[in-house]
Amino acid sequence: MSKTAPKTYITSGHSGCAGCCDAFAAKFALMGAGPNTIVVNPTGCLEVMSTPFPYSSWQVPWIHSLFENAGAVASGVEAALKALGKKDDIKVISIGGDGSTMDIGLGALSGAFERGHDFTYVCMDNEAYMNTGVQRSSGTPFDASTTTTPAGKVSFGNPRPKKNMPAIMAAHGSPYVATTSIGFPRDMIRKVKKATEIVGPTYIHSHAPCPTGWGFDTSKTLEIAKLAVETCLWPMYEMENGEITQVRKVKDPRPVEEYLRAQKRFKHLFTMEGGEEEIKKIQATADWNIKHFGLQ
């Protein structure tokens, strides 16, 4: 990044894999949020790799409680700051994986958004439970092979499409919901900054390709992230008060095949009989995105 890039508040030296998506996501989120921020981090790769006691990568106050309660813990942090008269100066953000956000922690997160706490939730979506060894989550895309939805003689992998999490959060009446990607740091930093400046519960869903879980070279994290956007499998947009207000256009969408071929988790689509048909279904998802979000 350029010399004028904002400072971040998570140091290197953590034990994440080389090219770790969660590390990128946390770094960019903090660049957007700034130093006067309390971070709530549910269980997952980021939490484990950044705080092996007695060390910590965090240069901002940070709390990890459990896998499924970040929304509630953040609610309490925010309420306490209010009660103690400190809320005006301090921001609260939660940074969690797709598993903690979209699956096990959804109830607590829904409660926090419905109650209207003033905080920002950032989901680092690496599309599986990475910390426990790449099991599927409701963020895992259609046909991805994971350790609990492995491709096999009679299976193409994960049988379900991704849950539309941003729509769920927008349906809570959130003033600001945006999708972004670690492949577009400036976009992510801008959106997180904007989200933290808006009063109320705001949500950033960041696509975060994981070299270990998806099966690609550790030098290609940001490249794969960009490819997801360029193939229109990961649309980037902003929603204000439930309405889409900004969309990142993709001039010449690339075929999804390029994206799929680059990752081991989709390898079976190119070797199994019937794989071509499956790839067409995935292309149809990208085409739907183009139309629905007006990407072109």
């Binding site: 006691f53 940070w62 990890h64 309490g76 309420a79 306490a80 829904s110």
Partner: protein
């Protein structure tokens, strides 16, 4: 006889209201709770206090589940807020994972538990299974005998829990319905006296951007065990504090409910009945009758179940001829209640030699009449004379419906 000046201060209110009032005068900064019978009136009363602007600098979080109630307080306490919740039964069980977390992070969250049975079968009445099942979570547990004690326990518990040498969460247990819904004369805690007694919460470590700290880190085998050891040490340090704080409370408010334990007709007692909670009142009535006949029966009230007052219990029963423990809970698979098991365990390696038997009683709110307590005492007298025949059993089983 109650002193007339003191009587004047007494009001007849519902137990839940008295407890909510007590929570209020402790000046909590964040309250987070979820309704469940028989705790509900406490949170409704607190909500009304908030709606009437009666609790300054306090946020009430209307959470979507008990799991979030306790989780929100974890976040709030870490920021330096004084926190309060109330729950029972299924709600407390739902909190289970987060209870360990609260204690492990050494956050002095305080919660009233209006003790209730757990399902299945679903049952809303009182026993102690809910809180007893949380005994290993690292929370201080104090059990109240009456409404006044349930009220008075709260400021005491804050003072103990927030002590820099302790820093552990605490449950103020009170019997659901029996205490939460009863209308009886109590003194509502005075704000001024409470302020004199309870200093504001000034934790050493908080989440603050001025001095960033990491809460809830990952601990590998080379560091984890020491965290557990320090947690146990903190519990041990709470033992004398519970005694001391009960005395300090007496100095300020003029009321004493016991420290770790309390005795009734205990000094010369040959037969001792041990228990926790509101059943102690009934037991004392029965014991009065025995005493009137000249029989040396006494009562040992256990107020603190966690930390467990081993030394005090050994000392209290050392001259008895037999002890009987009444437990409103059971560990299925042992046929024993927890207080019974732990009492036996703390006596085993001591010099005290006294036979101890147990009854597991009052499940799901089953009434415990005075006749049954008399029956238990008669059995214990037999044990004192000729030894134990049945070590532990259910009380008042309806054999005909089995």
């Amino acid at each position: 006889m109650i002193d007339p000046a003191y009587r004047k201060k007494m009001v007849v209110v519902e137990g839940s209201y008295a407890v909510a009032h007590s929570a209020k005068v402790c000046r909590p900064n964040v309250i987070s709770a979820y309704p469940i019978t028989p705790q509900t009136h406490i949170v409704e009363d607190l909500s009304q206090f908030i709606a009437d602007g009666e609790i300054p600098n306090c946020e009430y979080i209307n959470v979507e589940a008990e799991f979030s109630a306790i989780s929100a307080l974890i976040g709030a306490s870490a920021v330096g807020a004084r926190t309060y919740s109330a729950t029972t039964s299924q709600g407390l069980l739902l909190m289970h994972e987060a209870l360990f977390n609260t204690s492990g992070m050494r956050l002095p969250v305080i919660m009233t538990v209006a003790n209730r049975a757990v399902g299945a079968p679903i049952n809303i009445w009182n026993d102690h299974q809910d809180a007893i099942s949380q005994r290993d979570t690292g929370w201080i547990q104090l059990y109240a005998e009456d409404v006044q004690e349930a009220c008075d326990t709260l400021p005491q518990l804050y003072k103990i829990a927030e002590d820099n040498e302790v820093m552990l969460p605490g449950m103020a247990c009170m019997d659901g319905f029996i205490l939460s819904h009863v209308y009886e004369p109590v003194v509502l805690l005075e704000q001024e006296l409470t302020d004199d007694f309870l200093p504001s919460f000034q934790p050493e470590n908080v989440l603050d951007p001025e001095d960033p700290k990491t809460f809830g880190a990952f601990a590998a085998p080379d560091t984890y065990e020491e965290f557990r050891y320090l947690q146990e040490q903190a519990m041990q340090k709470a033992l004398p504090k519970i005694e001391a704080v009960a005395k300090e409370f007496e100095e300020v408010f003029g009321r004493y409910h016991g420290g770790l334990i309390d005795g009734y007709m205990l000094d010369d007692a040959e037969i001792i009945v041990m228990s926790m909670g509101s059943i102690l009142g009934t037991i004392k009535n029965v014991v009065d009758e025995y005493r009137a006949k000249g029989e040396k029966i006494g009562v040992l009230k256990v107020r603190s179940f966690r930390p467990f007052p081993k030394e005090q219990i050994c000392k209290a029963v050392k001259n008895a001829h037999a002890v009987v423990v009444l437990d409103k809970n059971i560990s299925i698979g042992t046929n024993e209640g927890a207080l019974f098991t732990e009492t036996k365990s703390c006596l085993y390696n001591s010099k005290v030699r006294v036979p101890v038997i147990g009854y597991t009683v009052g499940h799901g709110g089953r009434d415990i009449p005075v006749e049954s307590i008399a029956k238990v005492i008669e059995e214990t007298k037999k044990v004192a004379k000729s030894g134990i025949t049945v070590e532990s059993q259910f009380l008042d089983l309806k054999e005909e419906s089995l």
